[in-house]
Amino acid sequence: MIAATRLILANLAVAIVAFALGALMAVMQAVARAGVQVPFGSARMYYLSVTAHGVLEALVFTTFFIMALGYLVAGTTLGRVAGLKWAWAGFWVALVGTVITTLAILSGTSTVLYTFYPPLLAHPAFYLGATLLVVGSWIWCGVMIGSYRAWRAAQPGERVPLAMHGMMTTVIIWILATAGLAVEVLVLILPWSFGLVDRIDPIIARTYFWWFGHPLTYFWLLPAYVLWYTVIPRVAGGRLFSDSVTRVVFVQFILFSTPVGLHHQFTDPGISSGWKLVHTFTTYAIMFPSLVTAFTVIASLENAGRARGGTGLFGWIRLLPWRDPFFASVALSMLTFALGGFGGAINAAYAMNAMVHNTAWIQGHFHLTVGTAVALTFMGFTYWVLPRLTGRAIAWPRVAMVQPYLWFVGMQFFSIPNHIVGLMGMPRRVYTGEYQDVAAAQAWIPLVNLSAIGGVILFVSAMCYVGTIVVTMLVSPRGERLPMEYAEAMAPPEPGPSIWDRFGVWTAVAALMIIIVYGPPLYRLHTMARFPSLGFSPF
């Protein structure tokens, strides 16, 4: 039995409940935007549901799922989760925080969206609950680091297994990212929301938010990469392309995922264009490890297809296990992520960004990346891991087989029209795109309706997933647990640790880079003559 199985299942359960609630919020938005009457449909409910969907999917579902995955990887590669009591404490702190924030949102007093830009002012409970969620995740970081150090002390001179290397990278990125969030929330927002100070500077708050906001996306993505690199080649029947290259890729994410946040603020006043250009360069640097991932993971899959007897330039593709829901989920995720990646290159393009900033293009973009590459990988992984954790076979294998394809199709219907309508100028996060029937806005309507169809397909797929998992856990009999095995590498790793396993060194370099690219613009913002703002709650 895998160490800490109950802890892993508890974290997974919270993640999946949050996912289901968030999906419900999403389908309401998608059809309401197409002009369909939904129960309780109103602008108030629309923006409330946008807030709830964002928080539940992007912050709660992801964080709990990643905590579960972290414990699973530590338990299977290191054979231990050190400090199990702490891990449970972290779980409960994060869960209590989640409940508080969710209630604050549902009460209608915190409709500030999941970006909560000041001077929009939510109920203090919203920020307090979110803080507890992050504190819970910090305890997870502590347990992961403790487990790693305990293993290293017991196995001096051994190289940490690749999956754990990837999860440690995720932990470090999360710590670097949440440092910015901690300044924003603990120093700026909490005292202000409790009325201890009157005013807050919106641009400074945004800058700390995006210090957090971009590496947040890599906090979501890297656990998916860990599965793509270390599990999927085995599921497909092949081997990992290279252990060493993968470690270099992970370390590059430590270095480059944080000092890039200004590419979310290209249109902001108060920050000079020179620093925005610097962040453009670092943003393109972070695309390097993702491109290498695309090439090397596909090389692993080709290895698998040829091992199954595939020949010719493309003949190996057909022989891959397309009926396996985990494999299909990841393959479709990778395909979708390729589109999302090129869209991301446009978002980050210094001058081109003005065409897409805050348009519907953006929601189209991140539903390809976090909404598919990450979420679909996690869903597919659930089908694979539950039989290994509990011994229960997946209850509805046919539903599980179809569900990833349904998600993929639904997402194309949702996302492609959003990209196009965004280029046509439709803003994101609007209750309706009617604009008093102005001709330019009229042209958006068919595309918005098309994306609503995508939203409904996605919801059906989400419910297939949730239903299959719930029935599996409640009805499927317990049998033999399948073994939990990672992929072997074509080129085996060098036996001992190398420079790419020195997490402390790389974390220090990453922190230095953050100081270099954030220090001067933040210093200037903090020291210039400014007029901070009072809070407003227009909801």
Partner: protein, 148 residues
């Protein structure tokens, strides 16, 4: 790895060349203003269009809860138009649909962008940063008038 390096070099090359040769920069104006007195003191108390000595125009604007002031802006085609815009309340967006004018509007800061409209006509202005429950009703109009 080499393919990845090559692609990124191409992407970045395109950005640097246009930034230097075409002055293609994102809007990055650095100037602050007191949001509390916006409606009573200074250029934003009487928002509107002023003609500059060079024949171009400057548009001073407020984006505030669910309305742009002025709501309708008349500017000439073929001449440089500079938009200066700020907010007395929360963040707003200022996006002229069909153009690359796209600004974040923040209280306490003045956002600025200059463009030249080649084509006369009516352009829809939308707020693209969530600002409250009537965010989707916040709209304006730029009317670009041809040379007399």
């Amino acid at each position: 790895m080499w393919a990845a390096t090559g692609m990124l070099a191409l992407f970045l090359g395109a950005i640097v060349v246009t930034a230097i040769a075409g002055s293609a920069h994102p809007p990055s104006h650095v100037e602050t203003v007191n949001p509390d007195t916006l409606r009573t003191i200074g250029e934003f108390a009487t928002p509107g269009v002023t003609v500059n000595a060079d024949g171009g125009v400057t548009v001073a604007m407020r984006a505030e809860f669910y309305v742009f002031r002025p709501e309708v802006i008349r500017v000439p085609a073929g001449r440089p138009v500079t938009f200066r815009i700020t907010s007395p309340d929360v963040l707003h967006g200022f996006q002229i649909v069909g153009t690359n004018i796209n600004l974040t509007v923040a209280p306490g800061y003045i956002s600025e962008a200059t463009t030249t409209f080649a084509t006369p006509g009516e352009y829809l202005v939308v707020c693209n940063e969530y600002c409250g429950l009537a965010h989707h009703l916040m709209q304006g109009k730029v009317i670009v008038e041809g040379a007399p």
